[in-house]
């Protein structure tokens, strides 16, 4: 029997928050989850991000066994962790590993906003620090894709101190003379933007990504006394203010990163 028009499968079309138009989901997926009408960059899960960024089959995951242990016995924390583990298939908000981009060796880390808003607690902080340490001690470059609401409230002061911890590891990288590239994706805010994400050697950002010290939640509580620019708190605003090097469309990430990796390659690398 021929289906009538109203029996369209739920996921055949996706509404684009950028232009409000319906996008054919298959086309959207083929286009790296970028709207073919307006160029809006949709959320990308960490695993997909790794697949579309690295050379095929080159990824090897690191530190996969780390998991949070609720040090403060914080209300609802364990439930939220369990819920997001189930929903995302991840153990926490950060996936770390090694791989290649156009043949260049990279240590890569990707934050996933679907796991507790990409927030940084002990596990995220530890994985970032380990990746930085590994990069400082070995050959290769570091690439981190950021997406985060900030420090993870549920681990209290320990989370806040992950900001310092990752900046300490970043200082190790500087001393070792190893390159660190960060790609800001929607949204990169608060404790992550105010720690390791804003102190990379080169900072790229996806078009339209929210990039701000005060995320939406904080802003709602703060009285706005000044006129906000039209592009306030976007990647484009940060570019204009000199905090970001380059806005790069998702489809160009591999190409631009490869150019940077070529610049920072060492003699010891096979390529």
């Amino acid at each position: 029997m021929k289906p009538s028009y109203y029996e369209i499968p739920d996921n055949l079309f996706t509404a684009c928050p950028g232009c409000k138009r319906m996008v054919y989901t298959k086309q959207l997926t083929a286009n790296l989850m970028v709207c073919n009408h307006c160029g809006h960059h949709f959320y990308l899960p960490a695993t997909t991000r790794i697949n579309v960024t690295l050379d095929e089959g080159s990824f090897e995951e690191l530190y996969a066994g780390l998991s949070s242990n609720d040090p403060l016995e914080f209300p609802q924390y364990q439930d939220k962790i369990a819920r997001d583990r189930k929903a995302t298939g991840l153990s926490d908000a950060f996936v770390a590993g090694t791989g290649k981009i156009h043949g260049y060796c990279v240590n890569i880390g990707v934050l996933d906003f679907s796991f507790m808003g990409g927030s940084m607690g002990s596990v995220v902080g530890e994985k970032v620090a380990r990746l930085m340490q590994k990069t400082a001690e070995e050959e290769g470059s570091l690439v981190i894709f950021a997406a985060s609401g900030g420090a993870r409230m549920q681990e209290g002061l320990i989370s806040l101190m992950q900001m310092a911890k990752t900046c300490g590891a970043r200082a190790d990288l500087l001393d070792a003379g190893r390159p660190y590239y960060c790609v800001l994706t929607n949204p990169t805010t608060a404790g992550v933007w105010a720690s390791f994400a804003s102190v990379a050697d080169v900072i790229l950002a996806e078009p339209g990504a929210m990039v701000a010290f005060a995320g939406n939640r904080v802003s709602q509580q703060t009285k706005v006394s000044e006129q906000e620019p039209a592009n306030y708190k976007t990647a484009e605003f940060q570019l204009e203010k000199g905090m970001v090097d380059l806005i790069v469309e998702r489809s160009k990430h591999r190409e631009i990163l490869a150019q940077l990796l070529q610049f920072s390659r060492t003699g010891g690398e096979t390529r």
Partner: protein, 281 residues
């Protein structure tokens, strides 16, 4: 009108309902000693310096050079105001990027001369208005932390009031972190936490409990080195006695740090933070 109301702050009836909420009230007490009150009591002399050498100055973070127990030291600290006018001028202790850049500049200068730095932490948060975002508040805080990890002379930080999230950690990358008994140090203010957890800012007392944000909590989690006892009733009741205890503690820690090889100092500082975290592996 009570003196608290004159000072523009009401006693928070929701916070004082829980033990940790009470600590928040004390940490925010409008008569609590601020950085300049310690500078006047701890230092034989001090000279405040100004400017980040990029765009301007911040009145919410003060910094300069001083003589402390006969030792040349640098200092940096958040500064709140006493009068309404001064509170506004100092942006309630919420610094714009200039404050962090100025503090780091002066710390680096101190390190050139092998002099230590003392940081006083007392901020609700860093500034997050259009001006702060436009001039790179996040980048300034992160850069401050990275640079503090590279300063080859001792740094002692004392949380004297509110250790407010990013605004506090941006000046707290230290070899020793001390907290006054009734100060707090938190990833988020209890009001914000209550909003997120229960969509109800009224539950800030409960949120303070959940966050475990007191000096004692931080000490029990091994995140700080020492809790400095305050005069009975709180630091605001006796500035001189509080300053004396703070001075004694700083001096003791600086004496220990002077024994550490300068080249190892930075490594030990990084290791200290590197170890922080609670996870299963």
């Amino acid at each position: 009108m009570s003196s608290n109301e004159e000072a523009g702050v009401r006693l928070d009836d929701k916070l004082i309902q829980t033990p940790r909420g009470k600590e928040v009230v004390l940490a925010r007490h409008p008569k609590r000693p601020y950085t300049l009150d310690y500078a006047a009591r701890l230092f034989e002399s001090y000279l405040e310096l100004h400017g980040d050498r990029v765009i301007g100055d911040s009145k919410a973070i003060i910094s300069g050079v001083a003589q402390f127990e006969g030792l040349p030291v640098a200092f940096a600290g958040h500064q709140k105001g006493r009068t309404t006018q001064e509170r506004v001028a100092r942006n309630f202790g919420a610094s714009h990027p200039e404050g962090y850049r100025k503090a780091v500049r002066i710390m680096k200068f101190a390190a050139l001369l092998h002099n230590p730095t003392i940081c006083f932490i007392d901020t609700p948060a860093a500034a997050c208005d259009v001006a702060a975002e436009s001039r790179g508040i996040a980048t300034a805080i992160a850069t401050s932390m990275v640079e503090m990890f590279r300063i080859p002379s001792p740094i002692v930080a004392v949380v004297i009031g509110e250790g407010g999230s990013g605004g506090a950690i941006g000046l707290s990358v230290a070899d020793r972190i001390l907290m006054l008994q009734h100060s707090v140090y938190s990833v988020i203010p209890p009001e914000g936490c209550a909003n997120i957890l229960w969509r109800d800012p009224e539950k800030r007392g409960e949120a303070a409990e959940a966050l475990k944000l007191t000096a004692q909590d931080a000490f029990e989690q091994n995140l700080i080195d020492e809790v400095i006892t305050e005069p009975r009733g709180g630091a605001h009741l006796d500035y001189d006695a509080t300053a004396a205890s703070v001075g004694e503690a700083i001096l003791r820690h600086l004496a220990e740090l002077r024994e550490v090889d300068q080249n190892e100092l930075v490594t030990i500082r990084r290791e200290r933070f590197r170890k922080i975290g609670s996870f299963n592996s």
